[in-house]
């Protein structure tokens, strides 16, 4: 179980998130939704200690974050990656094995085998030799997910993995995430498309600079919660498949 207490983040004196406390259930897929600027990405960055925060403590099974970092894979938004970097697909996935290798150990046969396996799981095994800049958005996203697989982490955070990718890639990814959940992994996904919420997620966190609700879909994904996140008129438009 991931537990977050009192996360507050401000960007240049403007509040991005105020006093968010929540728990994330293990062995489930949890979605994070909210309007633009709601602080969805900030929430996972704050949980991972990747942004300057005013307050907030993350623990995983009562262990401090720094003890369990290697066991968390973080798949950031694709647009933050330098696609012209001289690196091939297989080497990109190999990076996923670095956290557990630690300093002074070089990747060997075992790690290379892991790379091949991970690429197979995302159906990208034929692309190992490509430079990453030659891939489409969806292919690239699958490569980064393969990298998370190679890390063999029990917790996977994904920031907007479905933005700007093809349907096929989206299906490959969501099927894989569900399979990983069934194998016992804890998965947290920042997402923007309300129509997929009920099919993709088990639990849902709804945000708009503060926490509006969290918990199982049936409890969290309600008209009232969506309206209070997106505003009344927007809320009406976005409600589809929402529990009343």
């Amino acid at each position: 179980m991931i537990e977050l207490k009192n996360l507050t983040v401000t960007y240049q004196d403007k509040p991005a998130l105020s006093d968010v406390s929540l728990t994330i259930r293990e062995k489930a897929i949890t979605g994070i939704i909210g309007p633009n600027g709601a602080g969805k990405s900030t929430l996972i960055k704050g949980m991972m200690d990747l942004v300057k925060k005013n307050s907030g403590v993350t623990t995983v099974d009562n262990q401090p974050l720094n003890n369990v970092r290697k066991n968390i894979a973080y798949v950031e938004q694709r647009n933050t990656i330098d696609l012209t970097f001289p690196i091939k697909v297989s080497e990109t996935v190999l990076l996923g094995t670095f956290p557990k290798l630690g300093l002074f150990h070089r990747p060997k046969e075992k790690e290379k085998q892991k790379v091949i396996e991970s690429l197979k799981q995302v159906k990208m095994e034929e692309f190992g030799n490509r430079q990453i800049g030659e891939l489409s958005g969806g292919q690239l996203q699958r490569v980064f997910i393969a990298r998370a697989l190679a890390q063999e982490a029990d917790i996977i955070f994904l920031d907007e993995p479905f933005v700007g990718i093809d349907m096929n890639s989206e299906k490959v990814i969501i099927d894989l995430l569900k399979q990983l959940r069934d194998e016992g992994k804890t998965i947290v996904v920042v997402h923007h498309d309300l129509s997929k919420v009920t099919t993709y997620f088990d639990d849902l966190i709804i945000l708009n600079q503060e926490l509006i609700s969290y918990g199982p879909i049936a409890k969290s994904f309600t008209t009232a919660n969506i309206k209070s996140a997106y505003g009344d008129s927007m809320g009406d438009l976005m409600i589809k498949g929402v529990n009343d």
């Binding site: 690196i87 002074f104 890390q151």
Partner: protein
């Protein structure tokens, strides 16, 4: 001409020293240069190489080897740039500009107190033919440190250059890596000062690496190509400088430029000529 150069090599120790030092500097500046351009720190390389100037002056005044003073000031500049960037709303290129020009100006004044103007000329533009035995040894030691560091921490350098966010997420101390690289960059900049001078050091760091960047799609290959170009340019530049009595630094730098232009025109990554041909059709 070449025979003349080779004959000179067998006859003059100063030329042997110059060639050896140039080759070593060609290697290390290529290696470090790759990380500098991949991490978007070209301007930082320029800044540090200029900021070492007051250190050289202070070393002359105090009477220690200029490597010491220069390294101290280079690091000092890197720290101040970091502080100004973190504690103000200025973007880092602005902070870099302010800090390095101030250091450089202070250096020019300090040098005029320390020694004659010919020395300033050598520091600014390099004078590889005057390399001493002890400078040579220090250069080799620096080269060994740099190459070992890159080999031992290759994994960490790769991941933190490519994806700093992932590195931080899994607990890599990216700040430590940054300052370690700054230290190495300073050491390389100080040693390259002998061959090309402070003003042109940045060219040794950036041009071979940028050329290699256009020619490779793996970091390890890029490093090898950059070092090779660094070495070949140093040798060719030194040859031209000796044969035609040109400034050694300028000759070396222009040789790297020729490589860059060739790569720019013909590299498969760049594809400039092919694109043009298609456009004409």
């Amino acid at each position: 001409m070449i025979a003349n150069f080779i004959e000179g090599l067998t006859k003059y120790e100063f030329l042997q020293n110059a060639l050896f030092t140039s080759v070593v500097i060609g290697i290390v500046s290529g290696v470090i240069g790759c990380f500098i351009i991949l991490r978007g720190m070209s301007l930082m390389g320029d800044a540090i190489s200029h900021a070492v100037l007051p250190g050289v002056a202070v070393s002359y005044i105090v009477g220690v080897n200029y490597f010491i003073g220069a390294t101290v000031f280079g690091l000092f500049a890197a720290l101040i740039i970091g502080l100004v960037t973190q504690h103000s709303k200025l973007k880092s290129d602005t902070a870099i500009g302010i800090v390095f020009s101030s250091f450089f100006a202070a250096g020019i004044i300090a040098i005029s107190f320390a020694k004659s103007s010919t020395d300033l000329y050598h520091i600014l533009f390099g004078n590889v033919l005057a390399v001493t035995q002890s400078d040579m040894i220090i250069t080799v030691v620096i080269a060994i440190i740099v190459v070992l560091f890159v080999i031992v921490f290759y994994k960490e350098l790769l991941v933190s250059s490519f994806d700093p966010v992932m590195s931080q997420a899994y607990g890599l101390r990216t700040q430590v890596i940054h300052y370690a690289l700054m230290l190495l960059l300073t050491l390389v900049a100080v040693s390259a000062l002998q061959t090309v001078g402070t003003i042109l050091v940045v060219a040794m760091l950036i041009t071979p690496a940028a050329t290699a960047y256009l020619l490779s799609n793996r970091l390890s290959v890029m490093i090898l190509i950059a070092s090779t170009i660094g070495v070949v340019s140093s040798v060719v530049g030194l040859f031209l400088s000796y044969s035609y009595n040109l400034a050694s630094g300028a000759a070396i730098v222009l040789t790297t430029t020729v490589f860059f232009i060739l790569a720019f025109l013909f590299s498969p990554k760049q594809n400039l000529l092919i694109k043009r041909r298609k456009a004409i059709k």
